[in-house]
C-alpha cells in the first residue's frame, strides 16, 4: 500500500512530468490558451496514459524487445482515436475548441515515456496507479498554466465574464505560453531547491549538472 501511494505521489509531485521532468511540453504550451481547453486536454491525456499503461503492462511479457516501440505507439494511437471519437460524439463543444490537438496526444512524450520506463517493467496495478499519478501531474500543470494564461490574456477564468478590460493578448499567443511556462517552472524549481536544500556538488555553473555535454564544457572551462 505504501508503494502505491509512493508511485502516485511520485507522478503528481516528485517527478511531475511537465514541471520537473520537462517532457510533454508541446501540449502543455499549445492547449493552455484557456482553462476549459486545459481541463479537456488534461483529462484526455490522463485517460490515454492510464489505458495505454494498463495494456502495455498486460502484454509486457509477450512483446519482443525489438518491436516494443511500434507496439506501444499502436496502442497509444488506438486509445487516442477512441478519445477523439468519444469527444466528437458526446462533447461537441469541447471537440470544437480542442479540435486538432486531440490526435496529437499520440506524440505526447509523457505517454510513450511512461510505457517505456514504467509500464513495461511493472505489474498492471502499479502501472495503473503510475498512469493516474502522472496524468494528475500533467493535469495540474496544464490547468494551472491555462488559468494563468486565460486570466491575463482574455481577462476571464472558466467563464466568458470579463474581469477587467484591455487584457494582454500576447498571453494567449505562443510567446505568452513560453513566458507563463517559464515563470511557472522557475517558481517550481525554486521551491524544489529550497525543499531539498540542494547544494552545488561541483564547481560547474548552476544548471549544468544534468547536461549530457557536461564533460565537454568542463574541459573548455578548465582551459
Amino acid at each position: 500500500m505504501k508503494k502505491v501511494i509512493q508511485v502516485f505521489i511520485n507522478g503528481l509531485i516528485k517527478e511531475n512530468p511537465v514541471l520537473i521532468m520537462m517532457i510533454g511540453l508541446c501540449p502543455f504550451l499549445a492547449c493552455s490558451t484557456s482553462a476549459n481547453d486545459a481541463v479537456g486536454m488534461g483529462l484526455a491525456a490522463t485517460f490515454v496514459l492510464t489505458c495505454s499503461n494498463i495494456i502495455v503492462s498486460l502484454i509486457r511479457k509477450i512483446v519482443p524487445k525489438e518491436v516494443r516501440i511500434p507496439v506501444f505507439i499502436v496502442i497509444i494511437a488506438t486509445f487516442t482515436t477512441i478519445v477523439d471519437y468519444l469527444i466528437k460524439a458526446y462533447f461537441p463543444a469541447l471537440s470544437e475548441s480542442l479540435g486538432v490537438f486531440i490526435p496529437l496526444i499520440v506524440v505526447n512524450c509523457i505517454i510513450l515515456a511512461r510505457a517505456e520506463a514504467f509500464a513495461s517493467k511493472n505489474n498492471v496495478f502499479l502501472s495503473l496507479i503510475d498512469g493516474l499519478g502522472m496524468g494528475a501531474g500533467f493535469f495540474v500543470a496544464i490547468v494551472l498554466l491555462g488559468i494563468i494564461r486565460q486570466f491575463f490574456g482574455s481577462a476571464t477564468v472558466f467563464s466568458s465574464k470579463e474581469l477587467f478590460s484591455n487584457p494582454a493578448v500576447i498571453m494567449i499567443l505562443p510567446p505568452g505560453g513560453f513566458l507563463a511556462a517559464g515563470v511557472v517552472i522557475t517558481i517550481v524549481k525554486y521551491i524544489e531547491n529550497k525543499l531539498t536544500n540542494k547544494k552545488p556538488t561541483s564547481n560547474l555553473p548552476e544548471g549544468c549538472e544534468g547536461c549530457a555535454l557536461k564533460s565537454r564544457c568542463t574541459e573548455l572551462l578548465n582551459k
Binding site: T33, S34, P64, T78, A89, G99, V100, S154, V169, I172
Partner: protein, 218 residues
Amino acid sequence: MNNTLKMVLVLFFVCLFSAVSLSFLYVKTKPQIEQNKILKEVKFKKQIAPLAEKFEVSQVNDITVERCYDYVNNLVGFLLKSSCRGYAGEIEYIISVSTFFPLQITGIKVITHKETPGLGANVTKEKFLSQFLNRTSTEIVLKKDNINGKIDAISGATITSRAITNSVRNLLENEILNNFVKETIEPKIQSPKKVFKAQQKIYISTQTVNSIQEQQTE
C-alpha cells in the same frame, strides 16, 4: 527465425486488435457525430431565422440559398450558406438576409472553422458577429479598411475578420444572387413553372427537427 516470427505475429495481432476495436467504435459513434452536425446547423438556422418554419433549398452557382417561409407560407427571409478562406483554413458560415432591397443581414453564424483558439476562433462569438446585423453591403467593410466601414476587426485576428467581412460583402453584392432574390420576391408571371419547380424541394421542416430531438432523448 523463431524470434522473427514472434515479432511479426505480436505486431500483427496488436494491429488487428486495434483495427477491430476502432472500427467497432467508429460505427457506434458515427450516427451521433453526424447528428451533432445537423443539430448544430438546425439550431443556428432557428437562431438566425426564428420565424421560418419551412425551408426550400436551391443552388445559385456555388452558393446554397434557402428560402424561408413561416407557417402560413409567407416569405420571411433567405438563408445563404457559403465559405471563405480564413487564416488557417476554410470558414463555413450561414447568414440570413432580409426580403427587401438593399439586402440587409438579419443573422449570421459561423458553422465550422480552423482558426487559432483564443484569437481567430473568436469569430464565432456574438461580440464580433452582432456587428453585421442590419447592415447593408456598403457598410460591411472593416473600419480600418474604409472610413464607411462599420465592422471592428477582432484584435489580433485581422486576417480572419477581413476574410469573413469581405466574403459576406461579396455574397450580398453577387449579381446572380440578387437576381434570384428579386425573382423570388416578385415572381414574373411568365415563369410560374420555374418557381414552382424550385419550391418542391422541401427538405427540413420543424417536424424533422422534433423527431431528431426525440430520438436523442430516447
